[in-house]
Each structure stands twice: as structure tokens, then as C-alpha cells.
Symmetry: C2
Subunit: 673 residues, 2 copies
Amino acid sequence: METVFLVTGVVGVFSIFWALLLALHIRKQDSGSERMKEISEYIHRGALAFLKSEYKYLSLFITAVFFILIFAVDLRSAFAFLVGAVFSILAGFLGMVVATKANVRTAEAARHSQNKALRIAFSGGAVMGLCVVGLGVIGIGFLLTIFSEDAIPLTGFALGASSIALFARVGGGIFTKAADVGADLVGKVEAHIPEDDPRNPAVIADNVGDNVGDVAGMGADLFESYVGSIISSVTLGYLVLEQYGAVFPLVLSSIGILASIIGIIIATKANGENPQKALNTGTYTAGLLVMVGTFILSKVVLDSYNAFFAVTAGLIIGILIGRITEVYTSADFRSVKTIALDSVTGSATNIISGLGVGMFSTMVPTVLIVLGVLLSYFVMGGNENATMGLYGISLAAVGMLSTTGITVAVDAYGPIADNAGGIAQMADLPPEVREITDKLDSVGNTTAAMGKGFAIGSAALTALSLFASYAESVELSSINLLNPLSLVGLFIGGMLPFLFAALTMNSVGKAANEMVMEVRRQFREIDGIMDGSGKPDYDRCVAISTKAALREMILPGILAVVIPVGVGLLLGAETLGGLIAGAVVTGVLLAIMMSNAGGAWDNAKKYIESGEHGGKGSEAHTAGIVGDTVGDPFKDTSGPSMNILIKLMSIVALVFAPVIVEYGGILLKLIVS
Amino acid sequence: METVFLVTGVVGVFSIFWALLLALHIRKQDSGSERMKEISEYIHRGALAFLKSEYKYLSLFITAVFFILIFAVDLRSAFAFLVGAVFSILAGFLGMVVATKANVRTAEAARHSQNKALRIAFSGGAVMGLCVVGLGVIGIGFLLTIFSEDAIPLTGFALGASSIALFARVGGGIFTKAADVGADLVGKVEAHIPEDDPRNPAVIADNVGDNVGDVAGMGADLFESYVGSIISSVTLGYLVLEQYGAVFPLVLSSIGILASIIGIIIATKANGENPQKALNTGTYTAGLLVMVGTFILSKVVLDSYNAFFAVTAGLIIGILIGRITEVYTSADFRSVKTIALDSVTGSATNIISGLGVGMFSTMVPTVLIVLGVLLSYFVMGGNENATMGLYGISLAAVGMLSTTGITVAVDAYGPIADNAGGIAQMADLPPEVREITDKLDSVGNTTAAMGKGFAIGSAALTALSLFASYAESVELSSINLLNPLSLVGLFIGGMLPFLFAALTMNSVGKAANEMVMEVRRQFREIDGIMDGSGKPDYDRCVAISTKAALREMILPGILAVVIPVGVGLLLGAETLGGLIAGAVVTGVLLAIMMSNAGGAWDNAKKYIESGEHGGKGSEAHTAGIVGDTVGDPFKDTSGPSMNILIKLMSIVALVFAPVIVEYGGILLKLIVS
């Protein structure tokens, strides 16, 4: 067993090492003209400013939870929590710092060749990806070793990852959309200056937001899924197959990391003339390698191919959920075209159409998740041994997430390319450079949409396997919906994602409003800002987004932690189980609906801008902009927040399981007695 | 026992008798000038034309289901289905015919006094209310008598009611919004003629829609809830307390009918200067009378006050859910004002704000439903005898619906007053008459919002008690969420309301588009239509709405029936149980969200029109109109459709329970073997 931990650790270290190599390589590249350096420096500094403020809040939060865990659960969990939080912070920090270095170098490289630009942007994303998986397995291996294979306190590690994800994804989502909406509303609509115009005071905050929300936030989200799925699989694995059950997901993850590194190498060596194809080749190669590896692993460790089927089910379904997202959000398919057509009759029909697409798009992913759950459960023999079936579901989750290294790389590539485009625009680079960065950016939009689908699917499976671990942990044999206590939990849980979405959408609205006021003020008060002789105060806009983001996530954050614990204590473990099931179901559905509606609106607008239905400036375009603006908080704040919410609540339930077993159901006992 | 059936039947007949008295009274009233009679005749004829087409479809549908039931279940269920369908049609027909007679007489009465106008409009609504409850209890009493107290086939009666509700509520919802949106988009926006202008070819269809959707649709919805809750309560009652358990809900319903009649009398005698107060006084009196009656009944029949508490919980929660709706949808409270304020920055912020309000508004109703479930379950001793607890939940549902007679009356009053206003406008009645009808209409908007909340709450409790009956019927001891078969059902079920909402919203879009084309065509092709010398072809617009409504509800209707049966047959009874639980949860949440967002947008627009934020013609007003247009299908089509979906799926599961017990889980057996 220790050999396995060692191997896992070595693979993890190798992953970090590879990330450092890539980072050094990026650093060596030319970062262009003085103007480009200056802009990049603004973005870099803005990102660091956000991180610094965030860390201030985080240190308080982490300290508080650390002590709560010591008293309420045990020292081991508290320690694991600390490690999880620090590792997640570290992954986010490294990824973001490199991303803010890679963006300007991508822009500069685009002056020479698309191939080179693609490589740098993708390498920048790969640093984040490799840090996520590397730190993930190092943390798990390390903790399992010092806890002498006791997997239970590892839930603390997942809680740490979840807490940081909350700050990064929800806070980051509010940050990025406040800046984006603020910059657009005053800059584009009122002052009639183009996007990414350096005269716009919020432009830097907007670019920082891409890094904060789409790099660090998304990375933290997948870090959470990644470690959450492995930990619940290890926990369940010990229960059903002792050591072998734990060895399997650990070795599988190591295989996944190596496969991801190979995939990353292939993607960077591929012909960059077709960026989408290069990225796909890398991703599919990694997936295939994992399948081959698992085929052997399954036979050797578990002496059957059942686990191979469960893992493959997860892997394929992850890819399919990503691809189906494209069908609903890309202008190459019918949905987006319909929204564009419905924009001709105005904003209202655009909105109705987009909401319809979002709602409709929940069907196929739900069926895919259902298939994944059934296949992985029954293939492992769940009909004879339920826990074994649940282990199968957790393996599907680990399988889906095994190639997280390259998935995050592809995902994080998008915002880097987007930033590169922004820098090219702000530094007045020639149009042919813009053309290349635009092309890379448009591929980035597709990968971002697919990445979002993948993040939701993996969050769903991770939450379900955490849910299964929770049930085992509190020794629930049943969460029976005929028992009104479960049913009531289901109702409350189902409502929470709606509440969470409402809170985060309102937060974006409030924060964007503050940004609008500030940008208007600068336009009014700074002399010569419009002719370029006066300098806008970028830092102030970054500070506004930062402050708003951190302030606005306090309430949702508290709710996500307090409600599950409170319901568990008042009404007991079964109600809490129902609550989590309800939250997972509506959370996943709302996440899909909001992400896809947002993506579809975005591309419908771009489709109109490409000249359809009257093109830019037409009535349809105005409607398209309304849809896109509604879609912004949908797809970049509220939608992705659901992933965090459902995982965080599951993990909170799991970590506090011992407390709930001992004291749960106080209210109930009072009523009945 | 037969005495009870007799008493119930007599009360039912008395209710119908009272309805006839009111109808005759309305008929005797003056229906005004020739012009008013002409317009009223158009509306009346349009409504009948819709009904005629609907009945053609219905007769095919009813025949098909009748034979399916004979073969798949038994003759008794099939016969009960037939009775249920015919009774629901009858209630809808009577209610709608009287409503289309009451509207013009209300307009004429408004020339004399507000008091008189209120009385006629409310009496018109009361005919619908008394028909609903009267036919409901007559049907149940009659079937229980001829089936010699075998309550099981009565589920067929509920299925009949559900099927008609589907046609009336979903089809009616599509009809009314296609006409409304079509009339507004071309008339108000393009041709710049006011609302309810007789030159608009879609204006009659719009007014017919109020009757089709808001009178007949809403009546059928509550008829379904009414009989569904009584039937599931009778079924569960037999199981736990034999005859006494069945007697209680039946007598309770009789008390409720008498209380409603008294309430209706009080409301019509009250001072009409404050219409809201008059209606409230009637409603609260009826509620109080039911409480007093139940207090005695509970002690006499069941020898304890427990049932009284369960019934009262339902009654109070029904009223509270209605009232809380007002908080989110009335301009007197913060939410609507916030939406109006957010309209200043444009359509996008108006939409985000409204969606936020809708999502946020799910919280309190959910908590109320949860409290109702817990209270009624535990007060009946559910912790010792689960079925007894479930009986308690069904009693809460019956309690909530006991005053359906007056609730429907208040609800149906709204569209009659609305129609009266339209007629006053079209017939050029003097402004002081419009003032009175406007005032009555604005009260109608509030009661409509509250009625929607009530309809959702009662649908939730009815669906839950049908769900409990289903579980008893297939002898499920558990729907265990740790079993992936239930979990998978939960996911599929949770997704269905999203799918249903998407389909119905798209249908409204498509149908409205056809209406827009037709209205544009008439404006273009009919000479002199604008100066009044040419007559618009009203009937053609009614025909378009009718055709679209009936065509567009086929797919959702089939899905609502086929999916539960299909899932039950393929994956078994437990998966189907999970499916229904999932559908009820997300269905209720989406219904609340969509209804409240729609209501809030509507009133935010009106609030702006009252002069706030620049008033009519301002930027904020434009944004307000966009929100209102999005809200239309939300609150009048997709939202209310959820009520039908969750009840229909529950009842389908219940009716087909014997088939599912025998053949269910085919796919599963294949996989496992």
C-alpha cells in the first residue's frame, strides 16, 4: 500500500515538475513592446491585488473552520482541511500567475505565427491543469500515509478544497461579471468606445476577471471535483474491497496524470493551423490512454473488467456531456440560430427563446448522467451489493475526472487567448495579429462551453459519490421518500439552488452597478481620459470588483454551510440526505440550464454580429445584446456556482456526519416526545 | 356509510342548484347597448368555437384512454375516468358560458354602480366555483355508491379530471398568450392603437383567451386538485381507519361547500366600495366556518382533535401561500419596486432582476409546504404509523381545498372584470365606467396572483398525497435514494418540468408568431380597417389560437402520460416513485418561480406606467414591457402547466399501478439476468 502512495506521490511531483518546466518556458518568451508589458503588468497586478484581498478573508475563514473542526470533529480532519485549503490556494495562485504571464506572450507570439501563439496559450493553461492534478494526488497520498491509511479524515481535505472553490468560483464569478457588465454598459453602450479599449477604466478589471473567474475559479472547481471523487472512491473502496478498493482509484489517477501529460505534449506539437483539432487530439489521446491503462489495471488489481467498464462509462459520458453542450451553444447548430431569428421580433422573444433553449438542454445531459449512474452501479454488481454499486458510481466519477490535467489545460487556454486578444487591441497591434488572437479566442469560447458542461457533469457525479459516502458514514440504510422527513429534505434541498442563483444574480447586479457608477465618475472627472492624455484609474475598478466579490459571497457561503448542518441537527441524518439529493438534482439542472442559455445567447449575439438578420446595429442586434447581458451572470456566475454549492453541501454533510449521528434530529425528538 | 354518500350528494346538488340560481340572476341583468351586445356575442361565440374544437379532440382522446383503461386496468376505472372527464368538461363549460354572459353585464352595471358591477362579476365567478365543487363531490359520492365503497377505481375519476385539466390549462394557456402577445405586438407596438381596440383583429381572441385560460383552465386545474385530494384521502382513509377514514374527508368537503356558499353570499352582500375587502371577508368567513365544522367533526368521527389540526394546517398554509405571492408580485412591496428601478438601466437588468425575484420567491412557499407536510404527518401520529401520517398529509390537502368553491369564485371574478373592461373600451363607454372596471380589474390581478399561489400549493399537496397513495398501491415500503434506481428516477423526474416549460414556452412563441402574421395580414388586406369602415375578421384569429393551442399541447400531453408509464415499465415501481418525487419538487419550484416572476414583471411595468422612473414612453417603460412580455408565458402558460404536469403524472402512476406491479422493471430484469 505504501508503494502505491509513493508512486502516486512521485507522479504528482512529476506533474508539478512538468508544470514548472512549462512555466519557465513561457517566462522565456518575448513579452513584446513596452506598451504591451505595461498593460500586462496592470492585469498581473490586478490579479495579485484580488488574490491578496481574498487571502485576507480566507485566512480568517480557514482559521475559524480549522478550530471548529478540531472541536466538532477531530484534529486529523482539521489538519486535512488545512492542507486541502492551502493546496487549492497554491494551485490557483500558480495557475493564475502563469496565465497572466502567458497572455502577453501569446499576443506577442501572434505577431509571428498562430502555431506559436496557440502553444504558449495552451502551455499557460497546462500549468494550471498540471498543478491541479499534481497537488491533488500529492495531498491525498501524503495524508493517507500520515493517517496510516485512515481515509475518513480525508474528507477534511475535500472540505478545504471546497471552501476555496467557493471563494474562487463564486467570488471570482461575481468579480468577472461585475467588471464585464460595468465595462460594457458604460464603455460600449454609453461612451461608444470598442471592447477592450484602454480608455475604459474597467477594462483591466475585465481582463483580470477572466483570470480570476475562468482560470482560478474553474481550476478550483475542478480541483474540488477531482479530490472529492478520489476521496469518496477511496473511502467506499476500503469498505468493499479493503486495500484493493483504495489502490484502484489512486493508481487510476496516476495513469490519468501521465496520460494528460502525454496529451498535453501531443496538443502542443500538433499543427496549430486548426487549433480546435490540436486540442481535441490531445484530449482524446489522453482519454484513450486512460482506457488502455484502466483495462490492464482493472484485471490486475481487481481481477475483472467491471471496474474498467465503470471508469470508461464515466470517461465517455464526461466527453459526451461536453460535446452536447456545443450543440446547444454553438452557432453551427439550430438552437443558437433560432434565438438569433427570434431576436428579430425584439428582446422579449430573444429572452423567451434563450430560456427555452436552456431548459430544453437539460434533457440529454440528464439522460447521460442517469445512464452513467445505472451502468457504473450495475456493472460493479450493485444489485447484489449496494455499496459495491456505489463504489462503481464513484469510479465513474474518478474516470470522468482522470484526465482533469488536460481538461483544465484546454479550459484555461480560453481566457488566456481572450486576454491576449484584449492586450493586442489595447496595444494597437496590427489587424492580422488580432485576427489570430480572435481565432484562438473563438476556439476558446467553444472549449469553455464544453468545459462548463464537463464541470457540471463531474460535479454531479462527484456530489453523488460524496452523497453515497455520507450515507455510509452516518450508517443510513435508506433515505426513504415515503418518510416525510426525507421528502421535506428533498423540498428544502431542491429550493436551495434557486435561492443561491437568486442571491448570486443579485450580487452581480449590485456589483455591476457600483462599477457603472465608478466608470461614469472617471469619464466625468478625469481630464483628457477620452483623447488618451488622461490616465484612467484601473486599480480603483479592480478594487471595486474585488470588494464586491468578497462581500457578496459571504451570505451564499454561509448558507451553503449552515443550512445542511442546521437541517441535520434539527431534523436528522435522513432529512439531510434528502436535502442533498434535492440540491444535487435541481442544482445540476439549473447549472445546465443557466450555462447553456448563457452560452447560446452569447453566440446568438455573435451570429447576428457576423451579419445575419441585419448585423451590427440592427434591431435584432440590440435584442441579442440584451440576451447576452442576461446570459453573462447565468453562465459565468450563477450557473457555475451550482457546481460548488452541491459539492460543498455534500462534503459539509460528510465531514459533520459524526456530529449529526450523535446530535442530529433534536427538533424531531422534541416533537415526537 | 350510504347516508354519508347521500348527504355528500345532496350538498353537491345544492351547490349546483345555487350556481344555477346565480346564473339565472346574471342572465336577467341588462346587457347594455347594441354595440356591447355585439362585442359580447363575439367573445361568447369565440369561446364556444374554441370549446367545440377542443371537444372534437377530447372525444377522440377520451375514447382512446377509455379503451386503454379497460384493457390495461379494469372497467370500473375506465368508467370512473369517463365520468371524471365529462364532469370536468361540464364544470368548465358551465363556468365559461356564464362568464361570457357576466362580462358584458358587469360592464353595463358599472354604468350604474361599482357595487352592482362587483356583484355580477363575482357571481359569475361563483357559478364556476360552485360547479367545480358540486360536480366534484357528486361524482365521487356517486362512484363510491355504485362501486360499493371500493375507492380504488376512483383514481380513474381523478385521471379523467386531470386529462381535461391538461387540455384546458395547458391548451388554454397557449391560446390566451398567443392571442395576447399577438394582439399586443402588432396592435400596440406596430400600429400604435390602444389595448382592447376593436380595430385589432386579435382583440376578441385576446378576450376569449381570458375566459379559456383563466376561467376554464384555472377551474379545471382546481377541479383536478379538489377531486384528487379527496380521492387520495378516501383511499388512504380506508386503509388506516376503515369507513371512518373515508367519511371524514367526504363530510369535510360537504362542510367546505356549505361554508363556501355562505362566504359567497357574504361577499356579494358586502360593501362593494372596497372590492378586495369584500372578497377577503367572504373567503376568511368560509375558512373560519370550515375550521369550526372540522373541530366538531374531528371529535365526533375520529374521537380526537388531531385531524382538525391537520386540516387547519392545510387551510392556513393555503391562505399564507396565496398572501406571500402578493409580497413578491404587488407594487406595494419591495420586489416589484426593485424590478422597476432596475428597468432604468435597460431590458437586461429588468430581466435579471425579475428572474432573481422569481427564484428568491421559492423560499417561503417551500418552507410553508414543508411545515404543512411535517405538521399534518406528525399530528396524526405518523411516527408510529406511517400510513396514518400520510393520511394526515392528504387531510391537509383536503383542508386547503375545502373552500375551493369560493376560491375559484374569487379567481374567476378577475377575468370577468378584465373582460368587462375590454368591452367598456371597445364599446366606447364613458371614462367613469372604465374607472370602475379598471378598479375591479386591478383587484382581479391581485386575486389572480394569490389564486396562482394557492393553485400551486394545493397542487403540491395533492400530488404528494397521490404520491403516497401510489406507494401504498404498488406496496412500496420504500423509495430509497441510496438505491440508484430511485435516484435515477429523481433525476429524470426533476428534469421533466424543465422540458415541459421549454416546450410550452416555445409553443407560445410559435403560436404568437402565427397570430402576428395574421393580424399584419388583416391590417394590410382589409380596406378601411383602421378608420372603422372595414370589419376585422375576429373569427379567423380565434381559429388560429384554437388550432395552435390544440396542436401544441399534443406533445407535452403525450410526454406527461407516456414517460411515467414507460419509466415504470422499464425500470420499475421504485424508479417511478423517484420520478414523481423529483417532478413534484422541481415542478413546484418552477411553477412558483415562473408565476411570481411573471406577476412581478407585470406589476413593475404597471408601476412604471403609473409615472415612476419616467412613466409611459420612458426607457424604463420599454424595459418594463420586455419583462412583461417574457412574463406572460411564464405566469399564464408554463408556470400553471406545472400544476397539471405534477398531478397528472402522479395520477397516471396511481392508475397504472397494477400494471406496473405486474410488468414493471422489464429493462432492469434484463440487465440483472
